[in-house]
Amino acid sequence: MIKLDNIEKVYRTSRVETVALMNINLEVKEGEFISIMGPSGCGKSTLLNLMGLLDAPTKGQLLINGKEITSYKDKYLANLRNQEIGFIFQSFHLVNDLSVLDNVEIPLLYRKISSSQRRQMALKALEHVGLTARIYHFPSQLSGGQQQRVAIARAIVGRPKILLADEPTGNLDSKMGEEVMNLLVGLNEEKTTIVMVTHDKRMAERTKRIVRIFDGRQVG
């Protein structure tokens, strides 16, 4: 599904050079549920961003769904992000000016889909996360857990094969975190490949494999 080959990421600003990732070799197989653990600042988010094509590696080779990323041109990446990947963030990243339904429809705006079909798919995704009653609410009217469920609906609405989640429960209390985790486990049981960054050992234990990063290097 995802294969990282000798990946390296260096952040260069005018003065400092930060080596965020060094020599990463990792293969995520279809149907896996992997959690990435490690101390703060060790490069977990950087790794997930590279997998999600939100950033380009400094060195190394990347394969998504068997497709080798040969170009980092905007159009090509945008299409891959849209078709193959669903992203979930710690801080939800909902658009506050849009209703729950409109937020979930966002990925579909960048596909050639009729508005009625768009709505149908969004409603189905919202049903999946149990928020059918809230579709006309705005993000500010929802609890954190509900907001993250909207974000999950938005991530799965385009039916991507891969879900990337960066500390999806990091901003939630344990009960709400539990709900979100249950959803992810359920999605994985329905054959969605998931890579999740987490700090929480109990969450990590519910996944099938744990990858540990320390100071930009893979340690297990």
Partner: protein, 401 residues
């Protein structure tokens, strides 16, 4: 996509209201600046109706006003002076005129016609005026000896007055009554396009010439001449002025004379008109710069506030182009609304009785140009922050604070 555009513009109405107000104020400023500059450009383009090249004006000062003075005798001396001027080989033509072109004074006459009152500018001139100022008649003829025989007072009018009095009908041959006690009757003998004696930057006005017959002894038909103008051979040196004054003083020792080229009078007049216009232009340029800065500031802020949203959209599959067009599209919607409101406001101005001197043509041209300027300004001011925002890598945009 269009529906999405309106939806997000509507949902962000609070923030967009600010931008809209900025665009609206910018539009009003641009409109007011434009309406005055286009107004002046427009009237500047209208023909002057005469040529002031190589023409000098002579002013006769007979000293302190004396009611006892023998008018006819004074007139005889004035005529002698005019004859002396004509005798100079450099002088090609000479005409008596009451109001000198570009000179800052004006005579008006008032009368009633078909139940309406009119007050055109009036100038008392002699038969030779067209030769001195190269005036072309559109219709009819200029004053000449034929007029000695007719009982009415002959006049030549400009097109503006002709239109006011007779609409599209030909004015030549028509008569109308003066507003004077004598109930003098004017007869239109000729039509000129215009005679803009206040210069190229003055408002257009209705105008009439009345014949001044210097050989008449009837003071109704003859007005004392205290100015005349002379057409000189091209290339006549300024030194002639002194010779002329010397000759004139030898004829009338107690009088004094002032000679000035029309070109110089025009220059002085132009300068006094242009000074306030230039001051206003500097203020206008300053205002436009403020408007552009204000607009780009507001747009810049509105884009930076949305960098996270832009990052999110790109993470979900939006290309840079899509982001670009979304922001520009939103801007277009907001600008259109602001321009719509602005246009409604601007249309109220003449309805409320302001800016009435501006013609509908100038008004419409100003509107079109102001729309274009504002559209261009918003696109330019919006383009730059949009392109910067669209170019931030999504991973970075998502963490933008």
């Amino acid at each position: 996509m269009i529906k999405q555009l309106f939806k997000i513009v509507w949902n962000r109405k609070k923030a967009n209201f600010l931008i809209m107000m900025e665009v609206l104020i910018s539009f009003l400023v641009v409109f007011l600046v434009m309406v005055s500059s286009i107004y002046f450009t427009d009237i500047y383009m209208y023909p002057l109706g005469y040529s002031y090249k190589d023409v000098w004006a002579v002013q006769i000062d007979t000293g302190a006003y004396n009611p006892e003075a023998d008018k006819l005798k004074e007139q005889e001396i004035a005529k002698k002076i005019m004859q002396a001027a004509k005798d100079f080989p450099e002088v090609e033509a000479l005409a008596g005129i009451n109001v000198i072109p570009f000179d800052n004074n004006e005579w008006r006459t008032g009368f009633e016609f078909a139940g309406k009152s009119y007050s055109p500018a009036i100038n008392y001139v002699t038969d030779e005026l067209p030769e001195v100022l190269d005036i072309k008649l559109l219709e009819g003829r200029w004053f000449n000896k034929e007029d000695d025989a007719i009982s009415e007072t002959p006049v030549v009018i400009n097109q503006a007055l002709s239109r006011e009095l007779y609409g599209s009908e030909s004015a030549v041959g028509k008569v109308f009554e003066s507003g004077l006690k004598s109930k003098k009757v004017y007869k239109v003998v000729g039509l000129v396009s215009d005679f803009r004696d206040d210069g190229e930057l003055a408002e257009l006005k209705s105008y009439m010439f009345q014949r001044n017959n210097l050989s008449s002894t009837d003071t109704e038909k003859m007005l004392l001449v205290d100015h005349f103008i002379i057409k000189l051979r091209p290339g006549t040196p300024a030194a002639l002025e002194e010779k002329l004054v010397k000759t004139f003083t030898s004829i009338a020792k107690d009088w004094s004379f002032n000679i000035e080229a029309l070109e110089d009078i025009r220059y002085k007049r132009m300068k006094s008109t242009l000074t306030p216009i230039l001051t206003a232009s500097i203020v206008a340029v300053f205002l436009m710069i403020m408007v552009a800065l204000g607009l780009s500031g507001v747009l810049w802020q509105s884009v930076t506030q949305r960098i996270k949203e832009i990052g999110l959209r790109r993470a979900k599959g939006a290309t840079q182009g899509k982001i670009y067009y979304q922001i520009l599209g939103e801007l277009l919607v907001i600008t259109s609304i602001a321009l719509f409101v602005g246009t409604i406001i601007v249309i109220q101005i003449p309805l409320l009785g302001f800016l009435n001197f501006v013609s509908i043509k100038v008004y419409v041209i100003t509107l079109l140009i102001s729309w274009a300027i504002i559209a261009l300004l918003t696109v330019i001011c919006g383009l730059y922050p949009s392109s910067i925002a669209a170019n931030i890598p999504p991973a970075e945009a998502l963490h933008y604070e």
